[in-house]
Symmetry: C2
Subunit: 438 residues, 2 copies
């Protein structure tokens, strides 16, 4: 059987599904029913979702959950989270409630600068290139006026362009390193459009620059593209309280808890194997909000993890201190987010999420997202250093295993009761179901 196909993208949705089912599925009728069961009953709404990307056949569901009681800079938020992993929303909610009673979260945007680069090859005298750049810089900015006018009207735009000499790293390699303020837009399209225009103007002007020899005029633009590494687009969030105030049902001995918590964070600061998972837990909280608010989690992930490695060794994104009887726990991360443009104004559930968050601007959203990450990490490190992570996690996961075996409500009640006093492992649950059914 030949499983190749030409012109797939030009087929209708039904034709695409037909080809797929014919080519790869045994029970085509139930597969077709399944795919269609996930379509929205509103055809217009479905069409909107279909057109977000190419070759769409149906909607992949991620549960949209809510974590209430987040007090951030004295405003109360219920945070929308789109995520498939159990226990993340529960942990966020629990951490929110815990800190609600202890003054809440403080968050602050430190900087909002975005970055883009035109990468090029120039074979010639560096002094001449510098002279050329000096002469052409204002022209580069002028030539983007048709792109920047709306952004400038709102107070943003191009901040600066620098010529960077990278020839020590790669022969004849230079950059136009540009910085941008994109306000409430994430800004990828804006920045890329500016950069591509810089590249056109730069190359064109070089051909006419009298200081260059014929060879030097021939600059090669390799590519023009924004960077998702945004170490100058930073937000900080923190919680703090007197150690004694950490006392609660789960924390009978706050002094001991604080010491062990700090130890766990110190370990994540110095041990990369631990830091990766520590930060992964932070990203559980961050990505869930990033997704629910229509932002691009791959961009956020790449920027955040590169930031975690910025000092040469991959390390923790959160930090903890104990000074004069005060426990403090904080995060500082780069986040390039948008609250206008892109999916934020298109996906009806993103609009819903934005309203739930009281229509944040980009800076507000940076703060909310950073807090979600910090809360998640607080919950994870608290569990890890006290009961262990499996107790909570496996109890949540128990329900999933029961569903997998299509346990009835009666079976569920019995087995949940059973596992209150037994260790949940996948095989223990399977054994228990089988025993019950015998």
């Amino acid at each position: 059987m030949d499983n190749t196909i030409s012109g797939f993208s030009k087929l209708s949705k039904s034709e695409k599904i037909d080809w797929l089912l014919n080519t790869y599925f045994t029970d085509q009728d139930s597969a077709r029913t399944l795919v269609q069961q996930y379509w929205n009953s509103d055809d217009k709404l479905q069409k909107l979702h279909d057109e977000f990307i190419e070759n769409t056949i149906t909607n992949y569901y991620l549960p949209l959950g809510v974590a209430p009681n987040f007090l951030i800079n004295d405003t109360l938020y219920a945070i929308p989270m789109a995520i498939e992993e159990s226990s993340v929303v529960a942990a966020a909610s629990k951490a929110a409630k815990f800190w609600l009673e202890r003054g809440g979260f403080k968050a602050k945007v430190i900087s909002t600068e975005k970055i883009g680069q035109v990468h090029f090859i120039y074979k010639g005298d560096i002094a001449k290139l510098q002279a050329f750049f000096k002469e052409v810089k204002s022209k580069l900015i002028e030539d983007t006026a048709f792109i920047t006018k709306n952004m400038e009207r709102r107070g943003g735009g191009i901040l600066d362009i620098e010529l960077r000499n990278k020839t020590e790293d790669l022969t004849n390699y230079y950059q136009l390193h540009a910085t941008f303020e994109t306000l409430d837009a994430m800004g990828a399209n804006f920045i890329n459009s500016c950069l591509e225009q810089f590249a056109v103007s730069f190359k064109t002007e070089a051909l006419q620059f009298e200081g260059f020899t014929e060879d030097e005029k021939n600059i090669t633009i390799v590519m023009s593209i924004l960077s998702n590494y945004v170490p100058e687009c930073l937000v900080r969030a923190e919680v703090s309280c007197d150690i004694e105030d950490l006392k609660s049902k789960d924390i009978p001995n706050p002094q001991q808890f604080a010491q062990k918590f700090k130890q766990a964070v110190s370990i994540a600061e110095i041990e990369p194997y631990r830091a990766v998972t520590h930060n992964k837990g932070i990203m559980n909280g961050i990505d869930a909000v990033v997704l629910a608010t229509g932002n691009d989690f791959r961009a956020v992930e790449a920027g955040v993890h590169a930031y975690a490695a910025k000092d040469g060794k991959y390390s923790s994104l959160t930090h903890c201190s104990i000074d004069n009887g005060v426990f403090k726990f904080w995060i500082e991360i780069p986040l390039a987010l948008g609250t206008v443009g892109g999916l934020t104004s298109l996906h009806p559930l993103v609009k819903f999420a934005m309203e739930m968050l009281q229509k944040p601007n980009a800076k507000d959203l940076m703060q909310i997202v950073a807090v979600a990450g910090l809360a998640q990490n607080f919950g994870a490190v608290k569990s890890l250093t006290t009961t262990g992570i499996q107790e909570g996690h496996m109890k949540m996961h128990l329900m999933n295993i029961l569903n997998q075996f299509e346990a009835t409500e009666v079976e569920k009640v019995k087995l949940v009761e059973h596992f209150k006093t037994h260790t949940v492992t996948h095989s223990a649950v399977v054994d228990a179901i089988e025993a019950l059914r015998k």
Copy 2:
């Protein structure tokens, strides 16, 4: 108004939604209609999705698209991709087709070892700790038999446990560093359960170890947790062909194309600002398949980016060579994936995706995912070094902007035609819509 709430998690779904709408929404009726419009019409199916996480109110839609024509180790795949970003599925399909005609993708799993650690504090003589570990090691493994029996029956289990001295990095800090083979399971629950059991046995046995003083017996377990950093769970994917064979409609001059492509990859190897975005593009392909197959993209992201920073400077995950007239392009990344357990057996669309992929085992899936990342990067670097990324991207994005302004079919046809010869920017599209409607 007091926006705090107690016992939120114990409310029914309807009660949760009611509280949210009352607290944060102005037009509560349309918000309720919207949330419910995203519920599945099949109540049982909806309940299944609700129970994946906590406080679920509805389903967040990610478009599920398909990229056909992937020839991987001589098998043809259509790859399911769940992603909200336009042009990712189109780029993957295009790269698949391009390489289909040039021998396809070759992929190979290099290693499959997973890692977990028990982090502990020991204040005492190191030689005694080593002696204790030597004595207790086999007991640690025996005590996990109730967890490992099913995994061992299938050929996996605990590979080894090492005692690691980390006191140079942090006072009195040691690890039990354990390695695992988890076969077709991602293994997080398995590994965490084993580690927590190690910790219990280790602490208990220490209290009885005669070589220790009373103080030395008192080992503090800080935490027990798997690592998402898996540099020994590696997969490699590559494409290659004679440079002359790169010739195609888009590539009139293959020699020049290959040189510029290699230059772009070299730049990503030496410049972190570029590497982050280069790798972000790779993750567009990887996460889309990871999501569609029910795996945990935060775990994959953390492990992959930490691997990109392993040599002390954040760098490209793909590489390119040109030798003896042969163009070669490859990726080598750590991927801990599962095809059984977790969401893979619960989410009906994940089962559908697995059938589309011809029921891969974990190694097959590692190969498919690595190929999706490589294909995505090939497409991105090809666009960047030839037409620029905005041409393709903005044309895809145009449709989204038109939908946002609820353009009619007639308006869409006119504006798509218009932007075949005009630069797409957000403001240009808005102006064009307004002009058309005047």
